[in-house]
Symmetry: none
Subunit: 165 residues, 2 copies
Amino acid sequence: MGRVKLEIKRIENNTNRQVTFSKRRNGLIKKAYELSVLCDIDIALIMFSPSGRLSHFSGKKRIEDVLARFANLPDQERELAIVFPEQGQHQRFSYRSDIQNTEQLRNESDIALQLSKPTAITSEDEELHHEIARLLQQLDLAEEQIRIYEPDPIKFTSMGELEIM
Amino acid sequence: MGRVKLEIKRIENNTNRQVTFSKRRNGLIKKAYELSVLCDIDIALIMFSPSGRLSHFSGKKRIEDVLARFANLPDQERELAIVFPEQGQHQRFSYRSDIQNTEQLRNESDIALQLSKPTAITSEDEELHHEIARLLQQLDLAEEQIRIYEPDPIKFTSMGELEIM
DNA sequence: CGCCCTATATATAAGTA
DNA sequence: TTACTTATATATAGGGC
């Protein structure tokens, strides 16, 4: 999007890297803002500049509330999340099969999420999350079963509606 | 960026809103990815689609690590952060004159991260109920769809038998 | 939902101040 | 770091499959 096509790899020149960061950060924030308004969604964007300074954005809700919504998601729901890893080298933070006990999860990142976890959550909340997780799982099972019959969902209008979820 | 200039306000048509979300979400993720690589920075992006499903992205670090870095920031640093409120107006919160002491800020921030604010729980609670209602409706749609194919709920013992069908 | 296509709207790389 | 300019590279609205 400039005079020259820019290869997507680390900009080695410090000044250029910082300048590019400032410009693109603004563009990214603008896009995030537009998306949040157009689609009326919760969104949280956190960035640390090359020099380590924090920049962040969230739509109508406070960023802490969005992060809280993320942190309090039921396990299953997070598992089903659409994730965009950089190069497929990502790991899901918990529920990894290679982790045998929760002790191993007690690193910095997990502590962070713990900050917004349970403490003050009512049991009713937990139940609701559980219920949602259960429903999501059922939906996935149902979807899978439907796909067995009809590999091409587009043919059926009701399927189209189902896919929307 | 399309055939027509789109006004930045909530898209009322449900289908269009969802389609626009999907398209722009991909664009936003791409931008976030490019920024993270070009400038070699930590970034975390969390979005909840119009239907409530989670999408998220982070660069080479796990999103939890980035959130941890955010959560563990000293209050002062977070205060100095470049924040982009809803309207995309680039405001600097540094040295706000309307803040007399950092004490109240620290409390507010902590409460937010701990998700223990009563009001937040209430609204969150409503959202959960809405989500459950939504999932139940979609599950009904799915089950109805399945019934079309399978009037009698037969249990298959293996995928092999299913494929034969 | 995801992919394709095309006409337009936007973002932005470089350079300059 | 921010502002402005301009030539180009990209993103995307709308419509179809």
